[in-house]
């Protein structure tokens, strides 16, 4: 068991002929992901690596393959349209890896995706992996191992670091989900925590947050109110200077400046385990599994 992707995931790669798209398509196929098609406008009818059919549009790709998931590697100016194209074509899980999508584009994309009943992961995220079954995105497959710890994180390489340390210590994962670090993203911590809570195979959850915003505080409240499974949290940026992307005005609505200390306090108040260092996850998680 897992969340969001498994053996039944059938994937279309949007931007399959690009540098990143083609590299990661090969990695995903090698891992065992069922890549059933790719889309690059103008190259429809060709075949990627003699095995994956390429289409001009998502509509054509979904009609021909019946795929349920897509992953996006197109450049930032085209990413918003690619997400909406996937949603309109009937894809139910859209994973946008692209970094640098303008936030005003995302204000239009988000309601469109919702109205089409799709789930968006990202943008600016590493994707997700269900070890031993399927990976969608760029998380290195070899650092993961099947198991019963759910991972949800806002960052990329930090997640790899922690997953790697868990795997090295013999602790496997049910699914690892990178929600991305952009101000507006499709899936948040609470969406993933609720899915892990409902997944019978997941026994404990490791959650990696960052400074900025209030997503972690809201997640902590959700954990306190709705979750029975143990959650261990970490906040990156305890020593970072105040964020530069958002001015102070960004914090006014939430009534918080999003510091590491506030977030860690929220974790403690929710009865969560708090990892001070990445390596601390190993013992904190182990204790909650036994």
């Amino acid at each position: 068991m897992s969340i969001f992707i498994d053996n039944n995931t059938t994937l279309i790669v949007q931007g399959i002929t690009g540098r990143d798209g083609s590299f990661h398509t090969r990695q995903m196929i090698e891992y065992g992901t069922k890549v059933v098609g790719g889309v690059t406008p103008g190259t429809g009818g060709q075949t990627f690596d003699d095995s994956v059919p390429i289409f001009d549009t998502m509509h054509a790709a979904v009609t021909a393959t019946g795929a349920n998931t897509s992953v996006i590697y197109v450049p930032p100016p085209f990413a918003a349209d690619a997400i909406m194209e996937a949603a309109a074509a009937g894809i139910t899980l859209i994973v946008c890896i692209t970094e640098g999508v303008p936030v005003l584009d995302m204000t239009r994309v988000y309601p469109f995706v919702k109205e089409h009943g799709a789930r968006l992961l990202g943008p600016n995220c590493p994707g997700l992996i269900t070890p031993g079954e399927s990976k969608v995105g760029i998380i290195p497959g070899r650092i993961c191992a099947p198991g019963n710890v759910g991972i949800v994180s806002r960052s990329g390489t930090l997640t790899y670091e922690i997953v790697h340390q868990l795997t090295s210590a013999g602790i496997g994962q049910s699914s690892c989900v990178g929600i991305g670090g952009d101000p507006i993203n499709g899936t948040n911590f609470i969406d993933c925590l609720a899915a892990f809570e409902a997944d019978p195979h997941t026994k404990a959850i490791a959650m990696m947050g960052e400074i900025g915003g209030t997503d972690e505080q809201e997640a902590a409240q959700f954990i306190k109110d709705h979750m029975k499974k143990p959650v261990v949290g970490f906040i990156a940026g305890q020593t970072a200077p105040p964020g530069r992307r958002m001015g102070h005005a960004g914090a006014i609505i939430s009534g918080s400046s999003g510091t590491a200390a506030e977030k860690i306090d929220a974790f403690k108040a929710a009865g969560m385990g708090v990892a001070q260092r990445p390596v601390d996850f190993v013992e904190l998680i182990r204790a909650r599994l036994s």
Binding site: L104, I143, Y160, I252
Partner: protein, 380 residues
């Protein structure tokens, strides 16, 4: 990207927002000439990317052109929060009957552009939010319809009971929203929006922050970047496609990925050290980036030790190793270096480093502790 006040005002003026005339002066004589041209009392305002300009003495009222010259003389060259004032905005001074606040930000929670308006303007809106939140009206804008007339008018009447002023304010809301969308802002604000004794509205101060992700498709906005007002090392890093923020410590950190970079800084602190910077070399494999990163880090005289922490996913660790070898051949290091590499092509990377006289570890905690000890001059 932050815009200067005069740049933000120009964009707002283009959208129709009523703004008093103003011009930029780089010398005291220029300031005097502009004041002469206007023939009325003026404000002389420091143009730097820092809040609290007024409190720092960077904003002055001047009755006469001679006064403007004197005040400009004092402000030009002034240091405000570490930034040197290179230019001042000379603008007609407004008579003020009342002050309001109008701002738009992109809000994470509602996932929309949200207006914030308050009749309590002219002071920090953060303070209003903290002490009298009921004095602020929040209005999220549905991006599919834009700001609708009734919404703009509702905000107008929230600020002014006088119907003429409310309508004039509603028009300014529309104009500000257009400027916000056209420039690709993450924040735009007018503070204060002033009612003059003649019962007219004017925007006396304006601020805009542009979403960096918009700059590629808006070259006219990107051209407004003022590199002279930023730390040279940060300009250098941006031009090399690196994300760099200078700090005060002595352990120079070079990491791939923002989350891991922050966690590395935290770990340096945890083991009793002080990070000299945040530096994210990003996800792509490119030895050139490593060369640039080392050049920027070693230019900081405070750096006593360099710490690499690379978790290879997309980033190939052999590319990083090649970058380290190339960079140190070009510019031999004068401070110790600690390298932690793991992930994609780790064996090749270790071989490259060993052959060139470097040692590397694959354990993050061990590497950070070693770097902290070396920065303190302890044998590790």
């Amino acid at each position: 990207m932050d815009l200067h006040e005069y740049q933000a005002k120009e964009l707002m003026r283009t959208a129709g927002v009523p703004i008093p005339p103003g011009k930029i002066a780089r010398t005291a004589d220029e300031a005097e000439a502009i004041a002469n041209e206007y023939g009325v009392p003026v404000m002389v305002k420091a143009q730097v990317h820092a809040g609290g300009r007024g409190k720092a003495g960077g904003v002055k009222f001047c009755k006469t052109p001679a006064d403007a010259k004197e005040k400009a003389q004092a402000i030009l060259g002034m240091d405000i929060k570490g930034l040197t004032v290179e230019k001042v905005l000379v603008t007609e001074a407004a008579d003020i009957a009342s002050e309001a606040y109008v701002g738009i930000i992109v809000d994470r929670a509602t996932k929309k552009a949200v207006f914030m308006v308050s009749a309590a303007g002219g002071i920090d809106i953060e303070e209003v939010a903290a002490t009298t939140p009921e004095k602020i009206l929040y209005l999220p804008v549905d991006p599919r319809y834009g700001l609708m007339s009734f919404e703009a008018l509702r905000m107008g009447f929230f600020l002014y009971s006088d119907a003429k002023l409310a309508r004039a304010a509603a028009k300014i809301m529309q104009q500000l929203y257009a400027a916000f969308m056209n420039a690709g802002c993450s924040l735009a604000e007018i503070n204060p929006l002033v009612v003059t004794p003649n019962n007219e509205l004017i925007a006396v101060d304006g601020k805009m922050v542009i979403d960096d992700n918009e700059l590629d498709r808006r070259p006219d906005i990107a051209a407004l970047r003022d590199e002279s007002s930023e730390a040279p090392s940060e300009v250098d890093a941006r031009n090399a496609n690196l994300t760099f923020i200078k700090l005060d410590g002595d352990v120079g950190c070079i990491v791939n990925g923002a989350g891991l970079a922050m966690a590395t800084m935290d770990l340096v602190k945890f083991y009793g050290g002080d990070p000299a910077n945040f530096l994210d070399i990003g996800g792509s494999s490119n030895p050139e980036k490593v060369v640039n990163a080392l050049r920027i880090i070693t230019a900081d005289p405070n750096v006593k030790c360099i710490l690499f922490n690379i978790f290879g996913g997309i980033t190939r660790t052999d590319d990083v190793a090649n970058g380290i070898v190339t960079a140190t051949k070009q510019n031999p290091l004068t401070v110790p270096i600690v390298i932690r590499l793991t992930g994609t092509n780790e064996e090749i990377a270790m071989k490259i480093l060993t052959e060139n006289g470097f040692s590397a570890s694959s354990d993050m905690d061990e590497a950070v502790q070693r770097a902290v000890a070396l920065a303190k001059g302890e044998a590790a």
